[in-house]
C-alpha cells in the first residue's frame, strides 16, 4: 500500500440529515489518472470538496502518503500538495491571468511581483503546451483557456495531487482532446490526477483506475484496462444505457415557423458575434446548431428570444416580424419558449420554490393568475402535475430550486417551457452538466415536441446529443453558419472541418 498517495477510509458527510457521502473508501495510487465516475448527485463533488478542505467530513479518515491528516481549509490542502480545478472556475474575471495565479500565493512579500510570476507562468505554459498570455484579463479568454489558467494555478503551487471536477463539461469537443492530452502530460510529469466525470469515453481514454459512486457510496472500483464502457455504465446507473440514436419516428416537416435572415448581433463588448446568419426551422423539425463554444451560438439564441437586439437582419415567427418585439411579446403572443444555457442565472430563481419557478414563465396570465391575483392553488396543482410527469426528483414543491440537482432543475425548466405549448422552442446547451438519465429525459422531451409539430432549435456543443435529436445540423463557426448536414451525412472529418471554419454552404 506504500504507493498510495491518498486513501480514504469510511468518509461520511451529512447535510441537514441527508447523507451526501456514506462510508466512502478509496485509494489512489501515485502517478496515475484516477477517474471517479457517477451520475449527478452521486456525491462526487462533495467528496472532492472534502479532500480540498471545503467541507469537513463527520466520520472517517483521510490518509496522505500513509499518514492520517485533517484538511481544514483549501489553504491547508494546497500546502499539503492537493490542488483542485473546480467545475465552476475559481477565477476572478476582472483580474489578469498572472493576478489570478498570484491570488493567495504564499511567500509573497509586501509588494506584488507580477513580472516574476508572469515569467514563471510563461515557462510552465510552454512546458505543458498551453498557449497563455499571462497579462491577458480572464474575461477575455474562452472557456478552454480559462481551464488552462486553472491548471496553471495549481501547477504553480506545485501540487502533487490534482483534482478535476467535471473538467470536460464546459469544453467543446476539440478542446476535450487537448485537455486529455494535458492530463497525460501531468501523469508523465509524475503528478497524480483525480478526475471526476460522468463521461465514459473519457474514462476509457485516459484513466488508469476508476472508482464508481452511486448515492454517496462506492459501488465499484476497477482497473480501466480490465473493463469496458458498457460495464462501467451499468455500474454507474444500475442499468444498461442506450447509447445509440433514438427512434424519432418519421415526420414530414410542415411550414417554416421560425425564420431568421441575415441576422447580425453584437456581443456585450460591441464585437460582431453573429455575422449574417440565415436559418429556418419548420414545424415538426429539430434544427441542431453545432459548433465550438463561443462561436456566436449564445448571441444567436439571445437575439431570437429577444434578450439581445440584433444590429441588422430579421427574426420571423409564423411570418410575423418579431425583430423588435420585447421578450414578453415574443414569449406570450408568438409563443417562443426558451431553455437557456445558464440555469442558475437565466433559467431559474434559485431561492424561489419549485412551484414559484414553475409559474415563472406565465404567471401574469390565466390559469396562473386571474384579475391580477396569483391563483396559488392552480399553481400548486400544475407544479405537482409537472414534477410528476417530468420526473423532477425533490422533497416537495415548496423546496427551493437551489437544492435540486442540475438534472432536476433542467427538467423543471423544460416542463415550464414546454407546457406553455410553444410554437418555437429554443434550447441552448440543454445537456450541460447532466447525467445520462437526465440527458435521456431532455432528449425525449425534445423529440416529443417535434412530434407535436413544434419548431425546435437545438443549440449544443455536444455533437452526439445533437445527432440523437436533430433532423438537420447547422454548424457555426466565428459567427457564421459554415454548413448544414443531415445526421447521415455527418462524419468526424466533415463536421470537424465545418467547426474549424471551412465553409460548405451558408443557409440553414
Amino acid at each position: 500500500m506504500a504507493d498510495n498517495v491518498l486513501s480514504l477510509h469510511g468518509i461520511s458527510k451529512l447535510f441537514a440529515g441527508f447523507r451526501a457521502l456514506d462510508g466512502v473508501d478509496m485509494s489512489i495510487s501515485r502517478g496515475t489518472v484516477h477517474a471517479i465516475l457517477g451520475e449527478n448527485g452521486a456525491g462526487k463533488t462533495t467528496l472532492m470538496n472534502v479532500l480540498f478542505g471545503l467541507y469537513q467530513p463527520e466520520e472517517g479518515e483521510i490518509r496522505l502518503n500513509g499518514k492520517p491528516v485533517r484538511i481544514s481549509s483549501p489553504r491547508q490542502a494546497m500546502t499539503m500538495g492537493i490542488g483542485m480545478i473546480h467545475q465552476h472556475f475559481m477565477l476572478v474575471d476582472s483580474l489578469t491571468v498572472a493576478e489570478n495565479v498570484a491570488l493567495g500565493l504564499p511567500g509573497q512579500g509586501l509588494s506584488l511581483d507580477l513580472d516574476r510570476i508572469a515569467a514563471r507562468l510563461a515557462e510552465l505554459s510552454h512546458e505543458y503546451g498551453f498557449d497563455i498570455d499571462p497579462h491577458e484579463v480572464v474575461w477575455k479568454l474562452p472557456i478552454g483557456m480559462r481551464q488552462r489558467v486553472e491548471i496553471l494555478k495549481v501547477l504553480f503551487r506545485d501540487a502533487e495531487v490534482v483534482i478535476f471536477d467535471e473538467p470536460t463539461s464546459v469544453l467543446a469537443p476539440n478542446e476535450i482532446a487537448s485537455f486529455l492530452d494535458g492530463l497525460r502530460r501531468l501523469r508523465a510529469a509524475g503528478r497524480t490526477v483525480l478526475f471526476i466525470t460522468h463521461k465514459l469515453d473519457e474514462v476509457e481514454a485516459v484513466a488508469d483506475d476508476v472508482t464508481i459512486m452511486q448515492h454517496g457510496k462506492v459501488s465499484a472500483r476497477m482497473k480501466v484496462a480490465q473493463t469496458d464502457a458498457r460495464d462501467m455504465a451499468r455500474k454507474m446507473v444500475g442499468r444498461e444505457v442506450v447509447h445509440d440514436r433514438m427512434d424519432k419516428g418519421d415526420i414530414a416537416p410542415g411550414a417554416p415557423i421560425l425564420q431568421v435572415s441575415d441576422l447580425v448581433v453584437e456581443d456585450a463588448r460591441g464585437i460582431e458575434a453573429v455575422k449574417g446568419v440565415t436559418l429556418s426551422v419548420r414545424a415538426g423539425e429539430v434544427l441542431g446548431v453545432a459548433g465550438v463554444d463561443g462561436n456566436g451560438q449564445a448571441e444567436l439564441a439571445n437575439a431570437i428570444v429577444g434578450l439581445l437586439a440584433p444590429k441588422s437582419g430579421s427574426v420571423l415567427v409564423d411570418d410575423a416580424d418579431v425583430t423588435s418585439a420585447s421578450v414578453h411579446v415574443r414569449r406570450q403572443r408568438h409563443r417562443v419558449s426558451y431553455v437557456p444555457e445558464d440555469r442558475h442565472h437565466t433559467g431559474l430563481v434559485l431561492d424561489f420554490s419549485i412551484a414559484q419557478n414553475a409559474m415563472l414563465r406565465d404567471f401574469t396570465a390565466a390559469p396562473f393568475s386571474r384579475g391580477g391575483v396569483v391563483q396559488t392553488r392552480t399553481v400548486r396543482e400544475k407544479a405537482t402535475d409537472w414534477v410528476r410527469r417530468y420526473d423532477v426528483r425533490m422533497r416537495g414543491i415548496d423546496q427551493k430550486v437551489r437544492f435540486l440537482s442540475g438534472g432536476n432543475q433542467q427538467k423543471l425548466i423544460f416542463a415550464r417551457e414546454v407546457e406553455s405549448d410553444p410554437r418555437v422552442l429554443i434550447v441552448m446547451q440543454p445537456t450541460k452538466g447532466l447525467d445520462v438519465g437526465a440527458i435521456e429525459a431532455v432528449q425525449r422531451t425534445v423529440i416529443a415536441e417535434r412530434a407535436a409539430g413544434k419548431a425546435v432549435l437545438y443549440i449544443s456543443t455536444e455533437l452526439e446529443h445533437i445527432l440523437t435529436v436533430a433532423d438537420r445540423i447547422a454548424v457555426m463557426c466565428a459567427g457564421e453558419i459554415t454548413g448544414v448536414l443531415t445526421p447521415d451525412e455527418v462524419t468526424t472529418e466533415r463536421i470537424g472541418a465545418l467547426m474549424g471554419g471551412l465553409h460548405e454552404g451558408a443557409e440553414a
Partner: protein
C-alpha cells in the same frame, strides 16, 4: 460669481475652502473604497465620521491635546467598525441594515455621551491642529499656500491617497481585496480567509472615516455638536462611486464635492436675499448630476453587498 473668478484672492479663498470641505469626505470615501472593494457596503461611514468627531472632542477635552483626540476618534470609529464587521461579516446580516443601525446608534450615543462628558463645556472651543507651511512647496505661486499651508491631517491625506492606491493595486493584500470583492469563492479556494480580509477592510474603512470626523473637530470648528457629520458619510459614498472605487478617483470626486459646497457657501453670502436653503442643496444636486452623468460606465465590485458563506451554493 464672475468677480469671484477674476479676483485671484477670492478664488484662492474659494479653493482653500473647497479643500477644507473635501478633506473629511475624502478620508471617509477612501475608507469606503477599501471596504467596498472587499465587497462590504459601508453605509456606516456617516456614523463613523460622527463617532470620530465625538472621540476627537472628548479626547482633546479630557487630555488637553489634539493627539489624544485623534487617537480616541480612531478608537470610537473602530468600535463602530467592529460592530459592523461583526454583524455584516461575522453574522452575515444584511450590510445596509447593519450600517444604518450603526448610524442611528452613533447619533444617539454621541449626543447623549457628549452632554454627559462635555456638559457645559461643549461650546468652548478646544485646541486642535494648526496649519503649518511646508518650506519650499508653500512658496509655489497661487497653489502653494492653498495646498501646502495646511494642518497635519490634510498632509496625511496627501500621503494616504497614493498609499491606498499602491496597497490596492500593487500588493498581494490588495489583490486579495479586489478578488474578494469580485468573486469571493475564488479567493477562498485560493486559500485566502474571506472573513479576515473583509473584517480588516471594514476596520480600516471605519478608522479612516473616524479620522475624517476628527478633522472636522480638530482642524475646522474646534467644538462638538450633535449630528455634526450632517450627511458627509453619504456624500462620501457618492464620491467613491463617482471615483470608480479607486482611491485617487474618490479623492478627486471629493474635491469636486468640496468645491460645490464651497461655492454654495459663497453664493449664500453674495445673495443674502435668496433663501440659503436653496444654495445648501447645491452639493447634493451636484452629486446627483455627477452620478447620473457618469452612470452606466461604472462597474462596482461584483460581489458587493453579498454575504459569503462557505459551502453555501
Amino acid at each position: 460669481m464672475l468677480t469671484l473668478l477674476s479676483d485671484p484672492q477670492a478664488l484662492a479663498d474659494l479653493l482653500g475652502t473647497s479643500l477644507r470641505l473635501a478633506v473629511p469626505i475624502a478620508f471617509a470615501a477612501i475608507g469606503g473604497v477599501i471596504s467596498e472593494r472587499s465587497g462590504v457596503f459601508n453605509v456606516a461611514l456617516e456614523g463613523c465620521i460622527l463617532g470620530g468627531a465625538f472621540g476627537a472632542a472628548v479626547g482633546t477635552y479630557l487630555f488637553g491635546t489634539p493627539v489624544a483626540g485623534l487617537a480616541l476618534a480612531v478608537v470610537v470609529a473602530l468600535i463602530a467598525g467592529l460592530i459592523l464587521a461583526g454583524l455584516a461579516v461575522g453574522l452575515a446580516i444584511n450590510q445596509l441594515v447593519a450600517g444604518i443601525a450603526i448610524n442611528i446608534l452613533m447619533l444617539g450615543m454621541t449626543s447623549y455621551l457628549a452632554r454627559l462628558i462635555l456638559g457645559a463645556d461643549a461650546t468652548t472651543t478646544m485646541p486642535g491642529f494648526e496649519p503649518f507651511a511646508l518650506p519650499g512647496l508653500s512658496a509655489i505661486p497661487f497653489f502653494g499656500p492653498i495646498l501646502f499651508d495646511v494642518d497635519v491631517l490634510t498632509y496625511a491625506l496627501y500621503l494616504l491617497v497614493p498609499f491606498c492606491w499602491w496597497a490596492i493595486y500593487r500588493t498581494p493584500w490588495g489583490l486579495s481585496l479586489r478578488a474578494i470583492g469580485d468573486y469571493p469563492v475564488a479567493a477562498d479556494s485560493a486559500g485566502i480567509s474571506v472573513p479576515k480580509v473583509r473584517t480588516f477592510a471594514v476596520l480600516i474603512s471605519c478608522a479612516l472615516a473616524g479620522m475624517g470626523g476628527a478633522y472636522i473637530v480638530l482642524a475646522q470648528v474646534h467644538v462638538f455638536t450633535e449630528n455634526m457629520s450632517a450627511g458627509k458619510g453619504f456624500i462620501a459614498l457618492a464620491a467613491l462611486i463617482l471615483g470608480r472605487w479607486n482611491p485617487v478617483g474618490a479623492f478627486l470626486a471629493c474635491l469636486f464635492f468640496g468645491f460645490s459646497d464651497a461655492l454654495q457657501l459663497r453664493l449664500q453670502f453674495s445673495a443674502p436675499d435668496v433663501p440659503y436653503q436653496l444654495f445648501s442643496m447645491v452639493p447634493f444636486v451636484a452629486s446627483f448630476l455627477a452620478l447620473v452623468v457618469f452612470a452606466g460606465k461604472v462597474r462596482p465590485p461584483a460581489a458587493i453587498g453579498t454575504r459569503y458563506i462557505r459551502g453555501g451554493k
